[in-house]
């Protein structure tokens, strides 16, 4: 418990997707809400890489944004190093904010095109007042060097760099406030594979050097497998399974995790055909009752349609599935 750097509990975010008032009155519709994250709870331990995977609409980016304060949670609590995050309180948050950073998906949008690279990287230093004067320039040069660029690049504008180089700049900016925790939201999904390898290796090296803790958001299971210690699987805003990375891939417990793994293309040419997935992700405005996955689940049982499953412990984590309920698991073993 003590080694948890970040913990979230009961984290929920609803978006109001209602039509404008006038339309609602005329069309006699109620307000509509989209639940992008529902009662999500997990812990990230100091020094580890925790990954959240899921398909589009699974709520992984919503959760990342709530953690760094870009979105306000509808319910739930986020604790960083034991302290509750209260983004409304400016002064109290200032000290905490310096300790976490974010790396974004699109390196073409995450750097202000009108700013010089040096100013982009120095922005956190100046905002937190960490250094002044010439020391800032020296620090920017050091950071550029650290991410594999040269100090003279500080004078250039973002458009003079390739996608991979821009992502390095974004990483340098994230490191400039000397954070302990970095949220990486699809850091390589806009990059080509050879560049992706460079960035992933760089992220690893930096983690080793500075003891960073990462929250990695990705839809790419092979990237997640390569980078993380523990993985949380999201489906329709619900955390369906958390497990140690290696275990998740060898012994997936939740039927959705199993389905997701079976759908990954096979580069090893083992002759394995991907198992075609049945059905599609339901509309998150009207998620299915009971277990949200039940319409696509091959093991669906009657009470899956009515009761939402609780989280049950597994070998290396937990999974929210009725199949894993202790009573049922016992019955299963007896049958075998």
């Amino acid at each position: 418990m003590s080694d948890a750097l970040l913990s979230v509990s009961g984290l929920t975010r609803r978006f109001d997707v209602s039509k404008p008032l006038l339309n609602r009155v005329i069309e006699r519709e109620d307000r509509q809400f989209l639940t992008a994250a529902a009662d999500v709870a997990f812990e990230i331990r100091r020094g580890e890489t925790f990954a959240l995977v899921g398909e589009s609409g699974s709520g992984k980016s919503t959760i990342a944004k709530m953690i760094v304060g870009l979105l306000e949670p509808s319910e739930g609590e986020i604790r960083f190093d034991g302290k509750g995050m209260d983004f409304a309180s400016g002064s109290a948050m200032r000290a905490l904010r310096r300790r976490f950073q974010m790396i974004f998906q699109d390196p073409f949008a995450s750097l202000n095109p009108r700013w010089r690279v040096g100013d982009i990287i120095a922005e956190p230093i100046r905002t937190f007042g960490l250094l002044r004067g010439a020391a800032i320039g020296a620090e920017v040069g050091r950071l550029l060097d650290l991410v594999g660029l040269s100090a003279s690049d500080a004078e250039k504008f973002p458009h003079e760099f390739s996608g991979g180089q821009r992502q390095r700049i974004a990483i340098a900016r994230a490191l400039s406030s000397k954070p302990e925790f970095i949220v990486c939201d699809e850091p390589t999904s806009a990059l080509d594979v050879s560049v992706q390898a460079q960035i992933l290796n760089l992220m690893r090296d930096l983690q080793d050097e500075f003891g960073l803790t990462y929250l990695l958001i990705s839809h790419d299971l092979s990237v997640v497998r390569h980078m993380s210690n523990r993985i949380g699987v999201l489906y329709l805003g619900r955390l369906v399974e958390v497990a140690e990375a290696k275990r998740l891939f060898t012994e997936p417990q939740h039927p959705y995790t199993q389905m997701l793994l079976a759908a990954v293309p096979d580069l090893a040419l083992s002759g394995r055909r991907r198992t075609p997935v049945t059905g599609e992700i339901p509309n998150p405005i009207n998620p299915p009752p009971g277990c949200a996955f039940h319409p696509r689940c091959p093991h669906v049982m009657d009470h899956c349609r009515t009761d939402a499953p609780a989280s049950h412990p597994t070998a290396s984590g937990e999974a929210a599935c009725h199949l894993l309920a202790p009573s049922r698991a016992a019955a299963q073993t007896a049958q075998d």
Partner: protein, 313 residues
């Protein structure tokens, strides 16, 4: 803003010359012509006191005998020759045009500046804050758009005159005019800036600034503003042409600047009285100048819009 030593960096001049906009400019004869015409008129207006052969506002230097001299012909009484002739009071038309353009341009630039500052500020706030404030500002803008702007300027002008004591009216007239034209024109800046702000504020570089807790004012001014200035510049250029015409219209209607400080519009108003009595030059030359100025600035704005639009390139 920067703490870094410049090091084999191309000069600002070279980078400007090498930019896509400059390239597009060099390849557009229309844009070059328009820029030249605007530049000549603007420079002539700025340096009017040194360029003008006469000071049309100094009653001491005026000779009523010089009145109604046709262009390039010696005056029947004094024998003086004026390039563009003189008006009824013997003022040199060429000089009045130089001084008139000075006032027209001053009013135009100031009105655009006023509208721009107001529109950008409200647009940034509306776009970034959203919610009820956005709805309120944009509904006000919608309502204002339903009135013709010249009507609105007339209204503002009339109301303002009512508040200003008669002694100051003459001196304040030009500022009232600027505010009237500016107020009737802020809406388009606000709308464009609001739209662009709503796009920019969701980009990741703004989110990155929010993550470190940067102050909203700083985000608006340092991050978003530089990225929404492109379209604003285009509107401002076209807006300058419109403001000059609006000023001329108001002055023509007699509600603009006082006759002691005639703008191009005032000159046209004065000139039209003599058109049918044969003294055509008093009207024609100020009118042609106004047309050339408004048209070339407008063409420049059109070109700028195309040059900055990546889809048309």
């Amino acid at each position: 803003m920067t703490d870094f030593t410049p090091e084999n960096r191309p000069s600002i001049f070279f980078r400007a010359w090498d930019s896509d906009v400059a390239y597009s400019f060099r390849r557009s004869p229309l844009a070059i012509t328009a820029a030249l015409v605007s530049l000549v008129i603007i420079l002539a207006a700025i340096f009017a006191p040194w360029l003008a052969p006469h000071d049309p506002f100094n009653p001491a230097s005026l000779n009523l005998m010089d009145g109604f001299t046709p262009p390039m012909e010696p005056n029947a009484f004094t024998g003086n020759v004026y390039w563009l002739g003189t008006d009824n009071q013997g003022r040199d038309v060429f000089s009045t045009i130089l001084y008139g353009a000075r006032i027209s341009l001053f009013v135009g630039f100031m009105a655009v500046l006023f509208a721009m500052v107001l529109g950008i500020t409200l647009g940034l706030i509306a776009g970034y804050r959203g919610g009820w404030l956005d709805s309120l500002l944009m509904r006000v803008a919608d309502v204002q758009l339903t009135f013709p702007s010249i009507l609105l300027a007339l209204l503002i002008f009339g109301v303002a005159r009512g508040f200003i004591p008669p002694a100051y009216r003459e001196a304040m007239a030009i500022w009232v005019l600027i505010v009237a034209i500016g107020l009737s024109d802020w809406v388009q800046y606000a709308r464009v800036v609001r739209g662009a702000t709503m796009v920019e504020k969701n980009k990741e570089y703004v989110q990155a600034a929010r993550v470190i807790g940067a102050h909203p004012t700083k985000i608006l001014v340092r991050h978003i503003l530089p990225n929404v200035m492109g379209p604003v510049l285009v509107i401002a250029t076209i807006g300058l042409a419109l403001a000059i015409i609006a000023e001329a219209t108001l002055s023509f209607l007699g509600v603009g600047v006082p006759a002691t400080q005639p703008s191009l519009g005032t000159l046209i108003r004065i000139g039209q009285g003599f058109l049918f009595s044969g003294e055509w030059w008093i009207l024609l030359f100020p009118a042609v100048t106004l047309l050339a100025l408004a048209l070339s600035v407008n063409l420049l704005g059109d070109w700028l819009r195309d040059a900055l639009n990546p889809r048309l390139r």
